[in-house]
Symmetry: C2
Subunit: 333 residues, 2 copies
């Protein structure tokens, strides 16, 4: 299996991306990597690592799309960027199965939609992060930003793709799907949700459990949250923001709490570390762009080596599980 | 000043509501309360408190709308419910300035829209909770659920009402307004946001700072978040859910962490209490329904006495600050 890695995407590129790539190779067999970006820089970075040269190749791409570039325009004009080159490679060669990037989300989405074939029957690909729950289970949130103006039939497709992901990759036998809404009652929702609700309810391919409030996303009660890209993005980012605020206020309190608080903190440090590890979904991989014939994993822009390693291994899992093929099959039932 | 309290709204009615009402009377002067609900039950509850009988009256309402009732239908058919009776009283008598309820949000919204006059120039009232930030400031989130399908001009009105609230009640001189979106760049947003963005930008009555991500709501960078009711609700509930998940995982970790973790927890207990007090916005009052000629405060359904007291005193502040009149004035500029 060949996986392409955008060596110049994200805040910590290329050093942390390349370190993450090498760590991925060290931890699992059965795949090779193509690093896309400035050849000389990548070669120099690679000098510090030991690795099997058969498992690493470089694809030269001199340009870098940043978050300051307008995504659609950058994808159209910066043909030699690592993102565009990475996707071209993915599309052109059947040997390549997946692409991993921590670069501009907008550019990754734009390029993916233009350059990678969609699964037959899917109108819009969707971005799907996997979040931890309080029950030690995982929930797939789809879409979380690829489609700020979704249609009702898109939401059904998101639910279906999320269910395949949950079943085939996370091992949930009959994933419970909830529709993200402004209340749990059947009557709740905006116009889009009210149109999508009966479609989801009647769809025999889905185990649809009804509307869910954003409050219950991490509760472990559901396995897949179907949302339009705008609402899903707000849910994801608000959760992140609240967790960060919680940590920040806790930190200030500990700093202001004198010796007693500091001692308490030291004693609780392993627990805090566990909480951080549980909650920090970025460390466990990236958001998958579902609906394409190939696997695309968007790692967080602030990814360090650990997240990149996780994203690469996640991409490998998704390819092995045949998620794209299984989505196509699920659509045909 | 006369404030009406729904004595039968919420999970802990009537005991905690009545306790909260009496506590409010004890802590501040300058207002009286009318408790709406089953007269005999209220009278019996009141027996256990000492209070100035001049400051408490009862308005009999034998029915109770619950969360199981369909809000619009319940408001139409249950004329003798505490919510409908409370709003009728508020509307009929100019002496009454405010209504506080911890009852069904849907029913409070439906009844308010039907029974209370809107401020001239406001098309849709909006629900506005005040949230804590990491900077020890406060942010007004408007709308958080009254209008799941807002229009662009509604968003401008929400921004304006939130600004008046921030300035007149929270004392922020020139409140910074952000538009809740799926990214901070100007180009981000769904169709609604893209239509609202230029209107907000051009509006000279507003200090509009652009799009904000849900991640930044609690950051203290902005004072007012304008959102359509669907997205605002998701942001609010996702934040609550993430904070609860954080606490739950922390609790499990402490329980599983043996003696060391338990000792650490005991030492950090005052800090945890401070964090809880800071984050728990429900304890500081309710969400205000802005855009009506009278003040309506919706307290959380799970409110205990402390929240009810806070909501009553919040209603008093809002009346004293002349928020409704100032919104009307702001609209005329």
């Amino acid at each position: 299996m060949k996986i392409i890695v955008d060596a110049f995407g994200g805040d910590n590129a290329p050093a942390q991306i390349i370190k993450g790539a090498i760590d991925a190779l060290d931890s699992e067999q059965g795949f090779s990597l193509t690093l896309v970006g400035k050849q000389d820089v990548i070669e120099r970075e690679l000098l510090q690592y030991k690795y099997d040269p058969q498992r690493v190749s470089i694809h030269h791409a001199p340009d870098v799309i940043t978050n300051d570039d307008s995504p659609a325009e950058a994808v159209r004009t910066m043909k030699d960027s690592s993102i565009v080159q990475g996707f071209r490679l993915l599309n052109s060669d059947p040997d390549y199965s997946a692409f991993v990037s921590a670069g501009s989300t907008g550019a990754v989405l734009s390029a993916a939609v233009i350059l990678v074939k969609r699964i037959k029957g899917i109108n819009r690909p969707a971005l799907a992060p996997v979040l931890p729950t309080v029950n030690n289970s995982q929930v797939v949130l789809v879409d979380c930003g690829a489609n700020p103006d979704s249609k009702a039939n898109n939401l059904v497709q998101f639910a279906l793709m999320g269910s395949v992901y949950s079943k085939e990759v996370l091992g949930i036998p009959n994933p419970k799907v909830g529709l993200l809404s402004n209340g749990a009652e059947d009557s709740k929702g905006n116009e889009l949700n009210k149109e999508a609700f009966p479609l989801l309810k009647e769809d025999e391919r889905l185990n649809f459990v009804g509307n869910i409030e954003a409050r219950d996303i991490l509760s472990g009660k559901i396995d897949v949250v179907a949302a339009d890209g705008f609402g899903g993005n707000i849910a994801l980012k608000a959760s992140e923001g609240a967790a960060l605020a919680f940590l920040e206020i806790l930190k200030k309190g500990i700093l202001a709490g004198g010796l007693r608080a500091k001692l308490g903190y030291l004693l609780l440090k392993p627990v805090f570390k566990m909480v951080k590890n549980t909650m920090d979904y970025n460390d466990k991989g990236g958001a998958v762009l579902l609906g394409l014939q190939k696997i695309v994993v968007k790692s967080h822009g602030s990814s360090k080596a650990k997240s990149i390693t996780a994203s690469i291994l996640q991409a490998k899992n998704l390819v092995e599980a045949g998620v794209a093929q299984k989505i196509e099959k699920a659509l045909m039932i």
